[in-house]
């Protein structure tokens, strides 16, 4: 029968470090996977919420719009020309059409704007009246301001919405959606993303301000037509680009820890280079995002990399201490093997579960 004899300090050291790593790593992974997953599933709620949006005072809106001209609106998104997360905008080219009967004096093609957008080019393609139906078709190129939600960057998804709003208030014009004719170009593509879904809806908007108009007590109501698209990262390309240096430095630390465990070599002097590499690695992803960083996957993975290096360094320091202070090479080998295997396992697990929790 095999009998192992341990000194008290050996048991204390082994249990303390084992529990320390397992608790820190486990709790960190639980928190990060939970928050990333919740953020991911919240997207669906936002998507449905945007379609169901209702005005603050529905009865008043209906009363005001009794005598308004009903204009049928539709959009066809032709291309997504740019997504600029750093400067918080995206550029979209689309066609929009307006159809209505009656009031010929209305000129919607020249009397609409895109909420939070700057129209850089607008061209009226068709402006005609057929069998009493007024029809206007325009081609629009617009930059829309958007605060991109970057918690799951670089595996994030984005919901891009733009609202077409007439210059007329709701007592003059009410929008109706021409939903069945709304489309998005099936070959629309933007590097790194794929289209997940597309939808439209009509909402009533109530302005909070009266802009100081003397005869008004409350803000005016307008009808608006909403187009929304959801884009998801098409793969793990950007993720790898952002973290490949970090994976390299983590691998380097694993080699250092194993080297220290299996051979009597002190590789502690090689750790600072890895730490510098990991710390500076965050700049790759951060350069693509707005300056005010939101804590998310990018920080979690980088923090995980820094923890890996710190943990590796602490294991090496402990192995060295066991060898020099206690002159106990046998226990140093045992301690090193157990903790290095644990470190490798938990680090790899983290690099698997965090992206899975984030990717839609």
């Amino acid at each position: 029968m095999q009998k192992k004899i341990y000194k008290k300090w050996q048991i204390k050291k082994l249990v303390t470090w084992f529990l320390g790593i397992i608790l820190c790593g486990g709790i960190f992974l639980q928190y990060t996977t939970w928050t990333l997953y919740q953020d991911k599933v919240a997207e669906d709620k936002y998507w449905r919420g945007a379609l169901l949006e209702s005005p603050v005072d529905e009865e008043k809106a209906i009363a005001l719009s009794q005598s308004a001209t009903k204009v049928t609106v539709g959009t066809c998104v032709e291309s997504l020309k740019e997504i600029n997360m750093k400067n918080s905008y995206y550029r979209v080219a689309f066609k929009v059409w307006f159809k209505w009967r009656g009031d010929k004096s209305l000129d919607l093609a020249n009397n609409f704007h895109v909420y939070n957008g700057t129209i850089s080019k607008m061209e009226i393609i068709t402006d005609e009246t057929v069998n009493g139906v007024n029809y206007q078709l325009c081609s629009v190129d617009v930059n829309v301001f958007k605060n991109f939600w970057t918690k799951r960057f670089p595996l994030e998804s984005h919901q891009l919405r733009f609202y077409i709003e007439p210059s007329y208030t709701i007592d003059e014009v009410v929008f109706e959606g021409d939903i069945e004719n709304c489309e998005i170009n099936s070959s629309v593509s933007i590097a790194g993303y794929e289209l997940k879904r597309f939808a439209n809806g009509v909402h009533t908007n109530e302005y909070e301000s009266t802009y100081g108009m003397p005869d008004q007590e409350k803000g005016s109501y307008t009808s608006e037509f909403m187009t929304q698209m959801e884009l998801n990262r098409s793969g793990f390309g950007l993720y790898l680009k952002c973290f490949i240096a970090l994976f390299g430095t983590s691998l380097w630390v694993f080699i250092m820890v194993i080297l220290c465990t299996y051979h009597r070599i002190d590789p502690l002097s090689m750790i600072p280079a890895a730490l510098f590499g990991t710390v500076s690695n965050i700049m790759i992803g951060a350069n693509l995002l707005p300056d005010a960083l939101e804590i998310g996957l990018l920080e979690y993975v980088n923090a995980w990399g820094i923890l890996t290096i710190l943990c590796g360094a602490l294991i090496i320091i402990n192995i060295n201490r066991i060898r020099t202070k206690y002159n106990d090479n046998k226990f140093a080998a045992l301690f090193g093997r157990i903790l290095s295997m644990l470190l490798i396992f938990i680090v790899i697990l983290g690099h698997i579960v965090m992206p899975i929790a984030a990717y839609l």
């Binding site: 192992k4 008290k8 709790i27 997953y37």
Partner: protein
């Protein structure tokens, strides 16, 4: 210079161990295919043969069973949740194997400590995997669902309810597994133990204060071993003497 061999991952291969590997693998597959669905309030019985194998043959032995079962399940079109099971089984095999080899499993107190340690190890790894795949919602296992339902009815948040459920259920599972393994190895008939080449005794451990006590203990062990050897020899000699007497008569 290469360091000492700790013997943690050493695996002994002989016909008995190969027979045991086959039997345990088949038992794990059967447990995965049938018992988890039939007795959903019982522990994950498919972990029991893997942990038994780990206890007998070490971490590598248990890991082999876990991988073979995973490959079998994968090829027969099991649900994606088996990935979680495979990671869980492999991590537990390595951890529990090392725990046994280090000599902590030899006593009842050691078994209890093992239950707590395995629970901690298992849940801290299993929960992030579960959160990543299901976000805290429990899509499988009636006993987890049952407990989760109770906690949510009392207004507990999903995250805390999930963590608590996993801790409680894993603790019960581990207690059942480890005590079953302990008593199986202690109580199985000799013929079975020999057929599968299972050692009756576990590796043991002892904690000492300093080197002097360690030396004293090793010396005591050596003397004990010598004394035992002498006693055995004396018994053999006495046995031969009796046999000679009987022959003379």
């Amino acid at each position: 210079m290469k360091e000492y061999n700790t013997g943690l991952a050493t695996t002994v291969w002989n016909p008995g161990r190969i027979r045991l590997l086959v039997v345990l693998t088949i038992l794990t597959v059967i447990a995965t295919l049938f018992f988890d669905d039939v007795f959903s309030f019982l522990p994950y019985v498919n972990l029991l043969p893997i942990l038994f194998g780990t206890c007998v043959g070490g971490p590598v032995y248990g890991t082999i069973i876990a991988i073979v079962v995973f490959v079998f399940n994968f090829l027969t079109g099991a649900e994606p949740i088996i990935i979680v099971f495979a990671i869980e089984a492999i991590s537990l095999s390595i951890f529990f194997g090392a725990y046994v080899r280090l000599g902590f499993f030899a006593t009842i107190k050691g078994v209890w400590v093992g239950v707590v340690a395995c629970t901690l190890m298992d849940t801290l790894f299993k929960i992030p995997i579960h959160f990543a795949f299901n976000g805290g919602r429990i899509p499988y296992d009636s006993k987890l669902l049952f407990l989760h339902g109770i906690l949510e009815r009392f207004g507990e948040r999903t995250m805390i309810a999930s963590v608590f459920c996993f801790l409680v259920v894993t603790f019960i599972d581990m207690a059942v597994f480890l005590f079953v393994i302990y008593f199986l190895i202690k109580k199985l008939p000799n013929s079975v133990m020999e057929f599968f080449s299972i050692p009756r005794e576990f590796p043991t451990m002892q904690v000492v204060k300093d080197e002097k006590e360690e030396e004293f203990l090793s010396e005591t062990d050596k003397l004990k071993a010598k004394a035992m050897e002498k006693i055995e020899k004396a018994k053999e000699t006495a046995g031969e003497g009796q046999a000679d007497e009987k022959t003379d008569i």
